[in-house]
Symmetry: C2
DNA sequence: TGACTTGTTCTATTGAAACTAGAACAATAG
DNA sequence: CTATTGTTCTAGTTTCAATAGAACAAGTCA
């Protein structure tokens, strides 16, 4: 699994990390039952703080995407399959938004508004 | 046009305001050529700072949704029509996400990832 | 023309949140 | 039992949203 972090981005690091893992879970990069790297290890390889990684893990736990247990680490659940069912609908939005020349931030704002 | 602001929300006020106006532009609440309230007036009625309103206006200007001119105020452009073309696709995402029991924040995160 | 309206720009302060850092702790694995 | 790994706590730094006040510039309109 390839995880990338952009230190210069304005979006929070823990958010980037969570999104990255989420994406991997959906595309099959990580499969249910698979174990994510230990927070301390991942923090070191990404050159961020342990707390930042743990926060990302906890976010994914709140979403039901991973289970966290001391001594065992973070394990991916089978809930990722549900997320992948949304992919087609989301891809349609992305394609149309690009065709219309609408900026990414604007598209997410429109979605947030529609979700309220 | 009805604009609401939730002071207790974690999302920035200028963001809420921009989304609210954007929504109004899409649903036809405000039409192209129509003029938005003067920043000073809107700030007073919403009980927020003038700068907060102006920041929302400037965000919408960057999106091409309004034009700002001194002495004239903020005028809605006809670009709003483009945005409405996305509505159907976005609605589909919202419906599916709700059916799958996926949290709003998660859905927006998935979209952001797909837009990268 | 001249007064008024309205956005633009500037400086400054406050409060919240992200990130980093270090340490002690608790549950699980092997 | 020992090592691993997440949990919790305190704390300091930085960034950004929001507020506030003031001066300024470009347009409106009588």
């Amino acid at each position: 699994m390839l995880l990338r972090i952009d230190q210069s981005s304005t979006t929070p690091l823990f958010d980037q990390l969570a999104s990255s893992i989420r994406g991997a879970a959906i595309t099959g990069g990580v499969k249910p039952g698979e174990r994510l790297p230990a927070a301390r290890d991942l923090a070191e390889s990404l050159e961020v703080n342990v707390h930042t990684v743990l926060r990302a893990y906890q976010l994914l736990r709140d979403e039901g995407l991973v289970e966290l247990r001391r001594g065992r680490g973070a394990v991916v659940t089978d809930r990722a399959e549900r997320y992948s069912q949304l992919s087609a609908a989301i891809d349609t939005v992305v394609v149309e938004a690009r065709a219309l020349g609408i900026a990414p931030d604007t598209v997410t704002a429109l979605l947030r508004e529609a979700l309220k």
